[in-house]
């Protein structure tokens, strides 16, 4: 059972690292090359100057709850519940050992 627990922790660690790498290694720089910085320094008309500014409407669109996001959330909950089931089995196993006196019970 301890191996199942170790395996679970290993699985969580791998998933966490995978998610972090996905987020960190894709950057704004990759999508918008450094050339853009040079463009900003060019003389612009008043209208052009605000063209690359993100509007509050774009921010609101980014906040929308889409079906894809709900699907991702359901997958996350499925993984969490699966890991919890494994952890509960581990806890049950430990409870048995505790009742059998495997662990000390006296409070210092």
């Amino acid at each position: 059972m301890a191996r199942v627990g170790t395996g679970t922790i290993f699985l969580i660690a791998v998933l966490t690292i995978a998610v972090i790498s996905k987020v960190c290694f894709s950057s704004v720089a990759a999508e918008a090359p450094p050339v853009k910085t040079i463009v900003v320094e060019e003389v612009k008309t008043e209208q052009e100057a605000g063209a690359d500014r993100i509007t509050s409407q774009q921010v609101e669109e980014a906040r929308l709850v889409t079906a894809e996001r709900i699907y991702g959330l359901l997958v996350l909950w499925a993984v969490i519940l699966l890991v919890i089931v494994v952890l509960r089995l581990q806890i049950r196993d430990d409870e048995k050992l505790y009742k059998e006196g495997y662990y000390s019970q006296d409070l210092e």
Binding site: G5, T6, F10, I20, K22, V23, C24, S26, S27, V28, E31, A32, R53, I54, S56, Q58, V59, E61, A62, R63, V65, R69, I70, G72, L73, L76, W77, I80, V83, I84, L87, R88, Q90, I91, D94, E95, Y98, Y103, S104, Q105, D106, L107, E108
Partner: protein, 358 residues
């Protein structure tokens, strides 16, 4: 896998740490549920550190760029909206958890000897977490943040004796502006994380040193029944329970981040008058509401100054409760301090609700 664990164990004596944790017992009784809050707080702090570091890659802490960089995080950066929302909700949940931890510790009198220092470090953590929340709230530098800067620093300015110094120190001048944002950024990513990390370390060492406190009522009950209070090992029992709790919290956190993503208010327009009903963030609503109720003058003193002074005195009474609560120190029931705890909880909840609705 097993050989890797063995190799690590050989070098850092992992086995001896586990063996120590196996001997560390957590008392089992009807109030044991409160013991889980510490681990949840630590988990939330870790989430804040990770997501905060991610946001730091893109956030530009200057008055001209801060707002747009947050908008970029929300719109352009892959999963930026999610990372920012998780950071936002984790900070709120951290403040909720730290308040529950504080009130539960106060009500079960866990500050009794020899845990006075544990309590004091906990109180420092509470203050740091609140300031963390407030400084983070202002960093988007939107309209809401601008008025939060004004309201918050104004409140600090009413503190007797040090008020004027605090006001100028926090604002970086007389008025809220670019310097204020710089200072709050420095607090949020430099001063506060380092301070909190140091205090958490001391708090955890003290918790390990003294173990978990058993409530007086449970001890008395065990004495009457002539029963012993048993304990379960921290490792693996509590570790697995903590893992389950943390996973549920993670699920709730991501759900909140996806279903209610953090907002970005309108950009600051200095020519616009302050919007009607500007309020601080929820965790300072109770202070805001109490100050709102204060009359303009109390005995020829400014009402706000009197209100802030009274709140500081009440806070000091709670901070130094371990030294005032003599009965609890003798492991006797102390109804006066229980009443004080219940009263402070009621004031916090009721004033926050009224402040929110008003």
């Amino acid at each position: 896998m097993i050989s890797v664990i063995k190799a690590v164990d050989e070098r850092i004596k992992l086995g001896s740490i586990i063996s120590l944790a196996r001997h560390k017992l957590v008392p089992i009784h009807k109030h044991s549920v409160w013991y889980y809050l510490g681990a949840l707080l630590l988990f939330l702090f870790m989430i804040q550190a990770i997501t905060g570091a991610m946001l730091l890659f893109y956030y530009k802490p200057a008055a001209e760029t801060a707002y747009q960089s947050i908008a970029e995080i929300m719109v352009v950066v892959p999963y930026g909206w999610l990372i920012r929302s998780v950071h936002h909700w984790a900070s709120n949940l951290m403040i909720v958890t730290v308040f529950i931890h504080f009130f539960s510790t106060l009500l079960v009198k866990a500050y009794r000897r020899p845990r006075e220092l544990t309590w004091l470090t906990g109180m420092v953590m509470l203050i740091l977490v609140l300031f963390f929340g407030y400084s983070g709230y202002t960093l988007p530098y939107d309209e809401r943040a601008f008025f939060a800067f004004n309201v918050g620093t104004d409140m600090a300015g009413t503190i007797p004796v040090v008020g004027t110094f605090m006001l100028e120190f926090l604002r970086g001048g007389d008025i809220v502006g670019a310097n204020t944002l710089n200072r709050f950024f420095a607090f949020h990513v430099g001063v506060l994380p380092l301070s909190l990390l140091a205090v958490i370390a001391v708090h955890l060492i003290l918790v390990q040193l003294h173990g978990m406190s058993v409530p007086i009522a449970v001890m008395k009950d065990a004495e009457v029944r002539k029963q012993r209070i048993y304990g379960k090992p921290m490792f693996p029992h509590f570790l697995w329970h903590d893992a389950v709790n943390c996973l549920l919290l993670l699920g709730a956190l991501v759900s909140l981040a996806i279903l209610v993503p953090s907002e970005l208010g309108p950009e600051i327009d200095l020519l616009k008058p302050a919007p009607v009903g500007v309020k601080p963030d929820w965790f300072f609503l109770w202070v805001y509401q109490i100050l709102k109720w204060m009359p303009t003058y109390v005995l020829s003193m400014e009402g706000e100054v009197v209100g802030i002074t009274a709140l500081i005195l009440a806070a000091l009474l709670i901070v130094f409760a371990p030294f005032f609560d003599r009965k609890a120190q003798r492991n006797e029931r102390s109804p006066l301090f229980t009443a004080l705890g219940v009263l402070s909880l009621l004031v916090f909840v009721i004033c926050s609700i009224i402040g929110y609705l008003s």
